[in-house]
């Protein structure tokens, strides 16, 4: 019996071992999944794998998700300035200074950084806006520019502008003295001055302008050339000379000067306008429209571009476009004298019917 008994005990032990080894360790169910070291029934494995997250972790992950969504939402705005700055640098490297200036101005609104302000000065300078560049240089005084090449560039610009707009006390007094005089007297007195100060740019520019108003283009050219002999990249002088050559019907010379301008700034508005003028004078009206539209797309609030645009619309008999543009100009934030000029054009056109 005892044997029998002991045989029965052995059988019971074997059975017990088998069932405990093959039952779910979590709930004791006899159905376990094959292939796993840990014996669990499908339901327990599912439940254990779906272990709930504690409330604090749910809140933490919720905050993380909210911040990610927020980060994505503000991405276009926060990247706006960065993107503009990078686009500006790219445009600058391609000598596209109108685009560079626009992009730097966008970046400047987003970030108060000296480097961006310095880049704006560079772009203004290469767009020929020397006075604006000079004003901005004054604003930047006392700021530290770590980029050595940018610093050198600003230093060169500053020196260049100061040389061009160099006023001696004598010249300042002379200008004040003759300010209310007739053009003849102004020309006489300034010629006397320039004969003793042949390198004064301001005097040469003023004389060129006075001769231009007197319709003496040859003399204007002479003085502008005098300026360019000293400063061959002076954009104002190049633009003026190009327009004198255009008026004198020296179109090839004018075109060469325009190319010189494009070489300095591949988006030179002055060069586009002069090219449009040349084409209009050659009766290539459509070609003129192409040039002036390029300039308009770059800077739709530039007075000389707007003026040439109206003339080109007129010559191309695009009266509706011309009138729409004149309407638009009235809403623009232009200086009062420029606004008056365009209003007068509109009035004259209305009179003509």
């Amino acid at each position: 019996m005892s044997e029998i008994n002991s045989d029965q005990d052995q059988k019971y032990n074997d059975y017990y071992e088998q069932t405990t080894n093959y039952t779910c360790e979590n709930c004791g169910s006899s159905v376990t999944e094959d292939g796993y070291k840990t014996k669990l029934c499908p339901s327990c494995r599912y439940k254990l794998s779906k272990r709930p997250l504690p409330k604090s972790i749910k809140i933490f992950l919720g905050i993380i998700m909210v911040l990610i969504v927020y980060s994505f939402m503000r991405l276009p705005n926060s990247m706006k300035g960065v993107l503009a700055y990078e686009k500006g640098k790219k445009a600058e490297s391609q000598k596209k200074y109108v685009t560079a200036l626009k992009q730097y101005q966008i970046a400047d609104k987003e970030y108060d950084l000296t480097d961006i302000k310095a880049k704006i000065i560079v772009a203004e300078f290469y767009n020929g806006n020397y006075i604006t560049a000079n004003d901005l240089l004054c604003d930047l005084e006392g700021e530290i520019i770590e980029d050595k090449s940018l610093y050198d560039q600003l230093l060169n610009i500053s020196t260049y502008i100061n040389e061009i707009y160099y006023y001696t006390d004598d010249l300042y007094n002379l200008m004040n003295e003759i300010s209310s005089q007739s053009n003849d007297i102004k020309i006489e007195r300034l010629t006397e001055y320039i004969n003793t100060n042949p390198f004064n740019i301001e005097t040469a520019i003023t004389l060129a302008g006075l001769y231009y108003t007197e319709d003496n283009l040859e003399q204007s050219k002479k003085y502008m050339q005098m300026v360019l002999d000293q400063y061959p990249d002076y954009q104002y002088a190049l633009e003026a000379l190009a327009s004198y050559e255009t008026e004198l019907e020296n179109y090839d010379t004018a075109a060469k000067i325009c190319d010189q301008l494009f070489n300095i700034n591949s988006e030179s508005l002055g060069a586009y306008v002069t090219y449009a003028d040349i084409e209009l004078r050659k009766s290539n009206d459509k070609k003129a429209l192409e040039y002036v539209e390029k300039a308009y797309n770059l800077d739709p609030v530039n007075s000389s571009v707007l003026n040439m645009m109206i003339i080109t619309y007129q010559v191309n008999k695009m009266y509706e476009e011309r009138d729409d543009l004149l309407e638009e100009i009235e809403k623009m934030d232009l200086p009062p004298e420029e606004l008056k000029y365009f209003k007068d054009i509109k009035k004259n056109l209305q009179k003509e019917g």
Partner: protein
């Protein structure tokens, strides 16, 4: 500069939590039973997930390297709008610094721990794994070990910073 790991973990605790959550998430996806989870603690290890041994090799790998993908992506996404303004333009607002800290913290805990590497190493050695698995997993284990040892020389921090700066820069390059 040597800073005890526990202090680094405490300062970058969001990364530890996300790391452990990633392990848990991939256990859930792989239907592997979880017995215990510690999302963060002030001792070594700073977090852990104890789970059963997965049935398939891919489950093993997924659970071990899951945090690498989740932490990297979340770290990059969360700091995306802040990293360039703060790091390149020095013009961040307090919120930008918060997002940057979160991004770096999360990304720097992307690398699997030495224990995760041990788990993969265990699979490589097991009879279940074939030659292809061994070839794929071996370099993975080596890389994990390198980063684990490299954390002494701030390799994990370097990874975190790289993720939050390089990804936005890459996007910027594409946009420009």
């Amino acid at each position: 500069m040597f800073i005890p790991g526990i202090i680094i973990s405490a300062v970058t605790f969001p990364g530890v939590i996300v790391h452990e959550f990633a392990h848990q998430l991939f256990c859930r996806i792989s239907r592997v039973a979880i017995f215990d989870v510690r999302y963060f603690q002030f001792s070594n290890p700073s977090g852990y997930v104890i789970h059963e041994e997965p049935k398939e090799i891919y489950q093993h790998i997924l659970i071990s390297i899951g945090p690498f993908f989740l932490n990297t992506l979340l770290g990059a996404f969360i700091a995306m709008s802040s990293s360039i303004p703060v790091l390149d333009y020095n013009s961040g607002k307090p919120l930008d610094y918060l997002l940057l800290w979160l991004g770096i913290s999360i990304a720097m805990h992307a690398f699997p721990s030495r224990q995760d590497a041990n788990n993969i190493w265990y699979i490589i050695k097991s009879k279940k794994s074939n030659l292809a698995t061994k070839i794929i997993c071996f370099p993975l284990v080596v890389i994990i070990y390198i980063f684990s040892i490299g954390s002494i020389i701030w390799l994990d921090l370097l990874y975190g910073v790289s993720i939050v700066t390089l990804i936005p820069k890459l996007i910027l390059k594409l946009l420009v």
